[in-house]
Symmetry: C2
């Protein structure tokens, strides 16, 4: 048996609902091998946004054309502030208007917002159609493409309305990172950095050593960072799909971070920026609780600052942030559960005294103007 | 070991995601035994409508009070025309406004519309919270309470946006049928009748014999009709939760029926009324395809008429109905798949020639005024 082409490198992910591949490579989007073996259907719909579609939609449409009788494109408005029911309804209008049936495959071409919304649309349209993630930001490639979480925001909280719905495949084309603004690259690095403290001390060391290469978009460094991040996330999620225990460690920095995002109004800070600031707060909280030495917080601050990420929250006030954290999905009966670091590579989930949390917030926030 | 009280009669339903009981009995709603062993939570939320809440919400609140620190009530507007995203958002607003967490249990107190919307809200709120069905109409007791289908309507089609989400329990209180308007009782009987032709010839005989008792709301007759309907539905769904094959037979009469509902605008005819008319059309189509003798159609017509159900569709035109059927969830690539009867108690799913479908529609519809 001869094989004309080597298969694309792929990371298999196993979930209770089946398994899928994460394909990682430069040019994957236009590579016919990336699109073999997906569920058959009459129609494919590419859901993207007005910023990404002009760059990559045509290449994806051409790559999908051999597999579907009709491939349509729906460009949505761009930005976290559009991760709403109103935008989601544009997807349903398009699907119903185009006569899409229960086998139609949706392709999410864009960042985390597009992935979350397209995944949720796929979870709900006719009670569930297949979808494929084609993440075009570093953040989406290392985070939202693994784990099956899909959602939209509600004015009272981020990702409050959603579903677990696993993709059929994830295709990460490294070439899409060439056009990513520097601010978004840094926001993606925040989630890459996250995997070190919570699960892999050696990976944290590696990131510190390779940060210049990552910021210079060195292809080999990015490919390894994406692959290792997805491996860690897949390993965690594989043990706890529904976030009853272990999976919660993936929210390191997110309890503070979500509150910052919600307090500022979605779309002001990038998700990764808020998470960066939240990771510093959570590291400091871990230190104040005596779990790690204070030096760990300083190590995190240095890495985040070198990455170009914010380490000071805006002046929202600790009362407001605490209130926002209490309505977070991870809170139970009003008790906030924090992901804390016990040692580089080892996380634990626990509550913390309000007074200490206030101290941490105030220490890492701009002063409120009097 | 002594037991003070006999347990309430319950029908166990097994699904891939776990099993639950359907409790059937007069006074079940106020019976403490009906509410034992549900998931623990700080909060319970009763979602109902403005017609049902004044009748039963207080009794349910009292029955739940021993189990939850807070039991709140949310009465939604009444009617199929409110089975929309806007109404669903009222549920999310209430849940977030009350600080409900991921363990909060939702109770759907009402008919199929409330059950479908509450179930979908439970499926999506924080990516899934538990819910309990407390159906107060015959239709909801025999149909929407089994199978885990939840949904809202879209202007372009019924139940187009939804999820599979199994309840923790279903509690059918026969006393709630006392206040059910006669028109709604008949609409529920349409779904009871459905189970005969598709799965159980003896049950069809039994319904024909017991119809006067059912219409007179005889408690033993209703209890048996509900139990047998749920048994058949649970048996079908247990073999095919996601409707890839066998489950489609439950849609007998629904392909025509959904199109009638959509064509008229939701809320004009009751779902069961449209299904009744649709079952007659599907029976006639089966006869015209040579699957059953024409007498079977006449038998169905007689039973439906005795039940007080409509057997003539409004003048919508066969072109419009065909168009609506083609966007139904069951259609694939524009091909409409009909549930046809091969013999009383045996159904098959198949396409049919457009011309024959048009004949059937026109034969059982009011003439279009020229």
């Amino acid at each position: 048996m001869t094989r004309a082409l080597d298969p694309l490198p792929a990371l298999p992910v196993t979930t209770p609902g089946g398994s899928y591949d994460i394909v990682i490579g430069r040019g994957a989007l236009a590579d016919p091998r990336a699109w073999l073996g997906l569920p058959a259907a009459q129609q494919a719909v590419i859901v993207s946004n007005v910023a990404v579609a002009p760059l990559y939609a045509q290449a994806l449409q051409q790559a999908l054309a051999p597999h579907y009788a009709q491939v349509s494109l729906l460009p949505l408005p761009d930005g976290e502030e559009h991760k709403t029911w109103e935008t989601l309804n544009l997807v349903f209008d398009h699907l119903l208007g185009s006569g899409c049936d229960r086998k139609t495959v949706l392709f999410a071409l864009g960042g985390g917002v597009i992935g979350d919304m397209t995944g949720f649309a796929a979870a709900c349209y006719m009670r569930g159609v297949p979808f494929v993630q084609v993440p075009t930001t570093l953040l989406a490639q290392v985070d939202s493409s693994v784990g099956g979480k899909t959602a939209i925001n509600h004015p009272r909280g981020k990702n409050m309305i959603g579903a677990f719905h696993q993709p059929q495949r994830v295709v990460c084309d490294l070439a899409t990172l060439d056009t990513l603004p520097a601010r978004e690259l840094a926001a993606g690095l925040a989630e890459v950095i996250k995997y070190g403290p919570i699960a892999d001390a050696a990976f944290l060391d590696w990131i510190e050593a390779k940060l210049p290469a990552l910021l210079a978009r060195d292809e080999a460094a990015l490919a390894y960072a994406i692959r290792r991040s997805c491996e860690i996330k897949a390993w965690v999620v594989g043990q706890d799909e529904r976030e009853t225990g272990l999976r919660a460690i993936l929210n390191f920095g997110h309890t503070f971070g979500h509150a910052i995002e919600a307090g500022l109004g979605y779309g002001q800070w990038l998700h990764g920026e808020a998470v960066a600031c939240g990771m510093l707060m959570a590291s400091d909280l871990s230190a104040r609780l005596g779990l790690v030495p204070a030096a760990f917080g300083e190590r995190m601050r240095a890495l985040l600052e070198r990455s170009g990420l914010p380490t000071r929250a805006p002046a929202l006030g600790s009362t407001r942030l605490l209130e926002l954290m209490r309505v977070d999905k991870k809170a139970e009966g009003g008790e906030i559960r924090f992901v804390l670091i016990e040692a580089p590579g080892r996380a634990v989930v626990a509550p913390a005294p309000d007074a200490l949390v206030r101290e941490v917030i105030e220490c890492h926030s701009e002063a409120i103007a009097s």
